[in-house]
């Protein structure tokens, strides 16, 4: 009886918290990825250097250590405190944003030079070129690696349970303590994460088709550079759910 109450009161809301954390940090990561990724193609060396430094720092950082640092160390250094959920979203968004910036940079670099020159010839501003020419063409290249990162991010959200955000992993631990039985709840947790990952991949497939159709490419045609930078991950075309590349 008691565990049933726990299941309804903690586990079901926990699923919703996991989805929320995934959503918020994905939005933050996307903003960071596009900002830092485009800054890394800037003409000014100082801008490229600063954006590159951001990338190197957050790529080398463990998101769990970053979360601990934001929750425990930062309040004492700066004398203000973060809500745990905000700290978790911030840590995940900043790290996965750094991985994503590499994807954005690579995809922008793979847009044919002539497209950029055409933009210059039509006297587009830098911003207009990015928005009207480069990003729409680079977008289809970005989506498969973004999908991989999104799955990594979803898996990363389990970490927020360690800094006391009541997501589904946290609730799962509570249920284990309450019921003294660990097998059912952890199996259920693993299956739920897999189901979420599966749904996200399906959704990203739809977006990929849209993005391709948007630039008049009905069939998937991937640039040579994007393929190289991805190496072993999803672009083999066969794997239903191939992820990876967080290391890159």
């Amino acid at each position: 009886m008691m565990t049933e109450g726990m299941f309804d009161n903690y586990f079901l809301p926990g699923i919703w918290i996991t989805i929320q954390v995934t959503l918020y940090s994905a939005v933050l990561a996307a903003v960071v990825a596009f900002t830092v990724g485009t800054l890394r193609t800037s003409r000014l060396w100082i801008v490229r250097f600063l954006a590159g430094t951001y990338f190197e720092i957050f790529r080398g950082m463990s998101s769990l250590v970053l979360m601990f640092w934001l929750v425990f160390s930062l309040p004492l250094l700066l004398e203000w405190r973060l809500v745990p959920m905000f700290a978790g979203v911030l840590a995940l968004g900043l790290t996965y944003g750094a991985y994503g910036s590499e994807v954005v940079r690579g995809a922008l670099a793979a847009v044919p030079e002539g497209q950029r020159e055409a933009g210059v010839a039509l006297s587009f501003t830098r911003w207009q070129r990015l928005r009207r020419i480069e990003i729409p063409q680079a977008l289809p290249e970005m989506i498969p690696p973004f999908n991989n990162l999104l799955i990594e991010l979803l898996k990363g959200t389990a970490l927020v349970s360690v800094i006391t955000v009541a997501d589904m992993t946290y609730a799962g631990n509570l249920v284990r303590l309450g019921s003294n039985e660990s097998a059912p709840i952890y199996t259920l947790l693993l299956v739920l994460y897999f189901a979420l990952a599966f749904t996200l991949t399906r959704g990203m497939r739809v977006i990929e088709r849209k993005a391709n159709a948007n630039v008049g490419r009905p069939q998937q045609r991937r640039g040579l550079l994007a393929k190289l930078s991805l190496r072993e991950s999803a672009n083999e075309g066969s794997g239903a759910l191939t992820t990876g590349g967080a290391a890159k």
């Binding site: 190197e56 720092i57 790529r59 080398g60 950082m61 463990s62 998101s63 769990l64 250590v65 970053l66 601990f68 640092w69 425990f72 160390s73 004492l76 250094l77 700066l78 799955i151 979803l154 898996k155 990363g156 959200t157 389990a158 970490l159 349970s161 360690v162 992993t169 799962g172 631990n173 284990r176 660990s182 097998a183 952890y186 199996t187 947790l189 693993l190 994460y193 897999f194 990952a197 599966f198 190496r231 072993e232 991950s233 083999e236 794997g239 239903a240 759910l241 191939t242 992820t243 990876g244 967080a246 290391a247 890159k248």
Partner: protein, 217 residues
């Protein structure tokens, strides 16, 4: 700003203990990941569907679920019907198993990259299956994926703090223990910097390795 170098000094002995445990987990975890990943990759090319299918399903499942929950599973569920292991052993097995599903993809790409002619030549010379793999295919496949494997070692380094959650005393575990007993927070900053200090040169090394191997092949 509250920063006390005395505390940093006090933390150093347990910090170095933590570094050793982290490196130990990383080396052993990598060995498991490299070995098991190769097994998965070869099983996925097996001539029998009843081998390919379950292996693909298992690796997809492990790769798409969080390492943290897998660690809980290994630490709390497996001892109910299997051996009970220490937190560190569980952590090493968890890291190795999780990353083996990534290295399997790396090997698969490497094996797919070996020209078909090599397989045909091995068949034409009527080499047995084992020799085809060991003497012809794997040496060519593994060579070209070494940098990609290295990237996953760095990724594993960044995921290694998760084993502190089940109680292994690696860097983050030591920092947490120290901070909780002394009511200070400097230790987390030190560990954060330590990750950067280890990960950045390692990624530079892999870039060099990438260029080297690309030049000679």
């Amino acid at each position: 700003m509250n920063w006390d170098w005395e505390i940093v000094n006090d933390f150093m002995p347990s910090f170095w203990d933590g570094v050793l445990v982290t490196l130990q987990a990383l080396v052993l975890g990598s060995l498991i990941a490299f070995g098991l990943g190769l097994v998965w990759a070869m099983a996925q090319r097996a001539p029998f569907a009843w081998v390919r299918w379950p292996v693909t399903a298992l690796t997809e499942f492990v790769r798409n679920t969080p390492l943290l929950v897998q660690l809980f599973f290994l630490y709390y569920v497996v001892p109910e019907w299997g051996p009970s292991m220490s937190a560190l052993t569980t952590g090493i097995i968890g890291l190795g198993l999780h990353y083996s599903t990534y290295t399997a993809e790396v090997y698969r790409a490497g094996i797919d990259g070996v020209p078909v002619g090599q397989w045909e030549a091995a068949t034409a010379l009527s080499l047995p299956r084992v020799r085809t793999w060991v003497a012809v295919i794997l040496p060519q496949a593994i060579r070209r994926v070494v940098p990609a494997l290295g990237n996953y070692v760095i990724a594993m380094l960044k995921d290694s703090p998760m084993i502190a959650v089940i109680g292994a005393m690696e860097m983050l575990g030591e920092a947490e223990n120290f901070s909780n007993t002394t009511f200070t927070t400097e230790a987390y900053t030190i560990v954060g910097i330590a990750f950067l200090v280890i990960a950045y040169p390692a990624s530079l090394l892999i870039r060099v390795l990438e260029r080297r191997l690309a030049l000679t092949s």
